[in-house]
Symmetry: C2
Subunit: 119 residues, 2 copies
Protein backbone atom coordinates (compact mmCIF):
# COMPACT_ATOMS: atom_id res chain seq x y z
CA UNK A 1 0.00 0.00 0.00
CA UNK A 2 0.81 3.67 -0.17
CA UNK A 3 2.42 3.24 -3.53
CA UNK A 4 0.08 5.44 -5.52
CA UNK A 5 -2.08 5.99 -2.52
CA UNK A 6 -2.88 9.54 -3.39
CA UNK A 7 -3.12 9.38 -7.15
CA UNK A 8 -5.51 6.47 -7.38
CA UNK A 9 -8.41 8.03 -5.58
CA UNK A 10 -10.52 8.23 -8.70
CA UNK A 11 -10.78 4.48 -8.38
CA UNK A 12 -12.49 5.06 -5.06
CA UNK A 13 -14.88 7.49 -6.64
CA UNK A 14 -15.57 5.14 -9.49
CA UNK A 15 -16.40 2.36 -7.07
CA UNK A 16 -19.20 4.46 -5.67
CA UNK A 17 -20.60 5.11 -9.10
CA UNK A 18 -19.93 1.96 -11.00
CA UNK A 19 -22.27 -0.94 -11.13
CA UNK A 20 -24.61 -1.83 -13.89
CA UNK A 21 -27.44 0.32 -12.56
CA UNK A 22 -25.94 2.77 -10.11
CA UNK A 23 -25.59 5.66 -12.52
CA UNK A 24 -29.23 5.35 -13.51
CA UNK A 25 -30.42 5.07 -9.93
CA UNK A 26 -28.42 8.13 -9.04
CA UNK A 27 -29.69 9.99 -12.03
CA UNK A 28 -33.28 9.53 -10.97
CA UNK A 29 -32.69 10.24 -7.30
CA UNK A 30 -30.74 13.35 -8.16
CA UNK A 31 -33.93 14.77 -9.62
CA UNK A 32 -34.61 15.54 -5.97
CA UNK A 33 -37.90 13.79 -5.34
CA UNK A 34 -37.84 10.81 -2.97
CA UNK A 35 -38.81 7.63 -4.73
CA UNK A 36 -40.38 4.46 -3.48
CA UNK A 37 -38.94 1.09 -4.27
CA UNK A 38 -41.43 0.27 -6.96
CA UNK A 39 -41.27 3.71 -8.42
CA UNK A 40 -37.58 3.16 -9.03
CA UNK A 41 -38.37 -0.21 -10.50
CA UNK A 42 -40.70 1.37 -12.96
CA UNK A 43 -38.11 3.96 -13.90
CA UNK A 44 -35.56 1.22 -14.52
CA UNK A 45 -37.65 -1.19 -16.54
CA UNK A 46 -35.03 -3.87 -16.91
CA UNK A 47 -33.62 -4.02 -13.43
CA UNK A 48 -34.39 -6.97 -11.19
CA UNK A 49 -35.60 -6.58 -7.63
CA UNK A 50 -32.43 -8.17 -6.45
CA UNK A 51 -30.10 -5.75 -8.17
CA UNK A 52 -32.15 -2.76 -7.18
CA UNK A 53 -31.97 -3.69 -3.51
CA UNK A 54 -28.30 -4.58 -3.66
CA UNK A 55 -27.30 -1.36 -5.34
CA UNK A 56 -29.46 0.73 -3.07
CA UNK A 57 -27.88 -0.93 -0.07
CA UNK A 58 -24.43 -0.10 -1.32
CA UNK A 59 -25.34 3.50 -1.96
CA UNK A 60 -26.92 3.67 1.47
CA UNK A 61 -23.80 2.20 3.00
CA UNK A 62 -21.79 5.08 1.62
CA UNK A 63 -24.37 7.59 2.76
CA UNK A 64 -25.07 8.67 -0.76
CA UNK A 65 -28.66 7.53 -0.50
CA UNK A 66 -31.02 7.73 2.45
CA UNK A 67 -33.58 5.04 3.16
CA UNK A 68 -36.70 5.91 5.12
CA UNK A 69 -39.11 3.21 6.24
CA UNK A 70 -42.67 4.12 7.05
CA UNK A 71 -43.96 1.48 9.50
CA UNK A 72 -47.33 0.74 8.00
CA UNK A 73 -49.26 -1.87 6.11
CA UNK A 74 -48.62 -2.16 3.26
CA UNK A 75 -44.97 -1.18 3.73
CA UNK A 76 -43.68 2.05 2.31
CA UNK A 77 -40.03 2.84 1.83
CA UNK A 78 -38.65 5.97 0.32
CA UNK A 79 -35.23 6.50 -1.10
CA UNK A 80 -33.71 9.90 -1.55
CA UNK A 81 -30.36 11.43 -2.27
CA UNK A 82 -28.47 12.67 0.78
CA UNK A 83 -26.90 16.09 0.88
CA UNK A 84 -23.57 14.37 0.63
CA UNK A 85 -24.87 12.43 -2.33
CA UNK A 86 -25.57 15.61 -4.22
CA UNK A 87 -21.83 16.19 -4.32
CA UNK A 88 -21.82 13.53 -7.03
CA UNK A 89 -23.94 15.72 -9.22
CA UNK A 90 -21.10 17.53 -11.01
CA UNK A 91 -19.42 14.22 -11.71
CA UNK A 92 -22.47 12.71 -13.29
CA UNK A 93 -23.08 15.91 -15.20
CA UNK A 94 -19.56 15.97 -16.62
CA UNK A 95 -19.77 12.31 -17.52
CA UNK A 96 -23.06 12.85 -19.24
CA UNK A 97 -21.78 15.72 -21.32
CA UNK A 98 -18.71 13.81 -22.37
CA UNK A 99 -20.82 10.77 -23.17
CA UNK A 100 -23.11 12.74 -25.44
CA UNK A 101 -20.16 14.25 -27.27
CA UNK A 102 -18.51 10.86 -27.57
CA UNK A 103 -21.56 9.26 -29.13
CA UNK A 104 -21.92 12.12 -31.60
CA UNK A 105 -18.28 11.80 -32.53
CA UNK A 106 -18.64 8.11 -33.20
CA UNK A 107 -21.75 8.73 -35.23
CA UNK A 108 -20.03 11.31 -37.40
CA UNK A 109 -17.14 8.98 -38.00
CA UNK A 110 -19.46 6.18 -39.01
CA UNK A 111 -21.28 8.33 -41.51
CA UNK A 112 -18.00 9.48 -42.96
CA UNK A 113 -16.84 5.90 -43.43
CA UNK A 114 -20.07 4.95 -45.11
CA UNK A 115 -19.74 7.84 -47.52
CA UNK A 116 -16.20 6.98 -48.54
CA UNK A 117 -17.18 3.34 -49.00
CA UNK A 118 -19.84 4.23 -51.53
CA UNK A 119 -17.39 6.27 -53.58
Amino acid sequence: MRKNSDQCQFVVALDSIVGKWKPLILYHLLQGKPLRFNELRRLLPDITQRMLTLHLRELEEEEIVKRVVYPQIPPKVEYSITEYGTSLSPILETLHQWGVAHVERKQLKKEKNERTETD
Copy 2:
Protein backbone atom coordinates in the same frame (compact mmCIF):
# COMPACT_ATOMS: atom_id res chain seq x y z
CA MET B 1 -33.82 1.23 -27.34
CA ARG B 2 -34.27 4.97 -27.17
CA LYS B 3 -36.05 4.70 -23.84
CA ASN B 4 -33.61 6.76 -21.84
CA SER B 5 -31.43 7.22 -24.84
CA ASP B 6 -30.41 10.71 -23.93
CA GLN B 7 -30.17 10.47 -20.19
CA CYS B 8 -28.00 7.38 -20.05
CA GLN B 9 -25.01 8.80 -21.80
CA PHE B 10 -22.92 8.79 -18.68
CA VAL B 11 -22.92 5.06 -19.07
CA VAL B 12 -21.17 5.58 -22.37
CA ALA B 13 -18.60 7.80 -20.74
CA LEU B 14 -18.10 5.33 -17.96
CA ASP B 15 -17.48 2.56 -20.45
CA SER B 16 -14.53 4.48 -21.79
CA ILE B 17 -13.10 4.95 -18.35
CA VAL B 18 -14.03 1.82 -16.50
CA GLY B 19 -11.89 -1.22 -16.43
CA LYS B 20 -9.63 -2.29 -13.66
CA TRP B 21 -6.66 -0.35 -14.94
CA LYS B 22 -7.95 2.23 -17.38
CA PRO B 23 -8.08 5.11 -14.93
CA LEU B 24 -4.48 4.50 -13.91
CA ILE B 25 -3.30 4.20 -17.47
CA LEU B 26 -5.06 7.42 -18.32
CA TYR B 27 -3.67 9.12 -15.29
CA HIS B 28 -0.12 8.40 -16.33
CA LEU B 29 -0.62 9.23 -19.98
CA LEU B 30 -2.34 12.47 -19.09
CA GLN B 31 0.93 13.61 -17.60
CA GLY B 32 1.70 14.38 -21.22
CA LYS B 33 4.84 12.39 -21.86
CA PRO B 34 4.57 9.46 -24.29
CA LEU B 35 5.30 6.19 -22.56
CA ARG B 36 6.64 2.93 -23.84
CA PHE B 37 4.93 -0.33 -23.13
CA ASN B 38 7.34 -1.38 -20.44
CA GLU B 39 7.41 2.05 -18.90
CA LEU B 40 3.70 1.76 -18.36
CA ARG B 41 4.22 -1.69 -16.93
CA ARG B 42 6.65 -0.31 -14.42
CA LEU B 43 4.24 2.43 -13.45
CA LEU B 44 1.48 -0.13 -12.93
CA PRO B 45 3.38 -2.73 -10.93
CA ASP B 46 0.56 -5.23 -10.61
CA ILE B 47 -0.85 -5.20 -14.11
CA THR B 48 -0.29 -8.15 -16.40
CA GLN B 49 0.97 -7.78 -19.93
CA ARG B 50 -2.30 -9.11 -21.18
CA MET B 51 -4.45 -6.55 -19.42
CA LEU B 52 -2.17 -3.70 -20.37
CA THR B 53 -2.38 -4.54 -24.05
CA LEU B 54 -6.10 -5.14 -23.93
CA HIS B 55 -6.88 -1.89 -22.19
CA LEU B 56 -4.55 0.07 -24.40
CA ARG B 57 -6.24 -1.41 -27.46
CA GLU B 58 -9.63 -0.35 -26.21
CA LEU B 59 -8.43 3.16 -25.50
CA GLU B 60 -6.82 3.27 -28.92
CA GLU B 61 -10.03 2.07 -30.49
CA GLU B 62 -11.84 5.07 -29.04
CA GLU B 63 -9.07 7.41 -30.14
CA ILE B 64 -8.30 8.35 -26.59
CA VAL B 65 -4.80 6.96 -26.86
CA LYS B 66 -2.42 7.03 -29.79
CA ARG B 67 -0.06 4.15 -30.53
CA VAL B 68 3.15 4.79 -32.43
CA VAL B 69 5.33 1.93 -33.59
CA TYR B 70 8.98 2.54 -34.35
CA PRO B 71 10.03 -0.15 -36.81
CA GLN B 72 13.33 -1.21 -35.33
CA ILE B 73 14.97 -4.05 -33.48
CA PRO B 74 14.29 -4.33 -30.64
CA PRO B 75 10.77 -3.01 -31.13
CA LYS B 76 9.75 0.30 -29.64
CA VAL B 77 6.17 1.39 -29.16
CA GLU B 78 5.06 4.61 -27.62
CA TYR B 79 1.66 5.40 -26.23
CA SER B 80 0.41 8.90 -25.73
CA ILE B 81 -2.82 10.68 -25.03
CA THR B 82 -4.61 12.13 -28.05
CA GLU B 83 -5.93 15.62 -28.07
CA TYR B 84 -9.38 14.16 -27.87
CA GLY B 85 -8.24 12.07 -24.94
CA THR B 86 -7.30 15.15 -22.99
CA SER B 87 -10.99 16.01 -22.90
CA LEU B 88 -11.21 13.31 -20.24
CA SER B 89 -8.95 15.28 -18.00
CA PRO B 90 -11.64 17.25 -16.18
CA ILE B 91 -13.58 14.06 -15.55
CA LEU B 92 -10.63 12.32 -14.00
CA GLU B 93 -9.81 15.40 -12.01
CA THR B 94 -13.32 15.68 -10.60
CA LEU B 95 -13.37 12.00 -9.78
CA HIS B 96 -10.05 12.26 -8.06
CA GLN B 97 -11.11 15.16 -5.90
CA TRP B 98 -14.31 13.46 -4.89
CA GLY B 99 -12.43 10.26 -4.16
CA VAL B 100 -10.00 12.00 -1.86
CA ALA B 101 -12.83 13.69 0.02
CA HIS B 102 -14.71 10.43 0.24
CA VAL B 103 -11.80 8.58 1.77
CA GLU B 104 -11.21 11.33 4.28
CA ARG B 105 -14.85 11.29 5.22
CA LYS B 106 -14.78 7.56 5.83
CA GLN B 107 -11.62 7.91 7.86
CA LEU B 108 -13.14 10.56 10.07
CA LYS B 109 -16.19 8.43 10.65
CA LYS B 110 -14.10 5.43 11.58
CA GLU B 111 -12.12 7.41 14.13
CA LYS B 112 -15.31 8.77 15.62
CA ASN B 113 -16.72 5.30 16.03
CA GLU B 114 -13.57 4.08 17.70
CA ARG B 115 -13.70 6.92 20.15
CA THR B 116 -17.29 6.31 21.15
CA GLU B 117 -16.58 2.61 21.54
CA THR B 118 -13.86 3.23 24.10
CA ASP B 119 -16.18 5.42 26.18
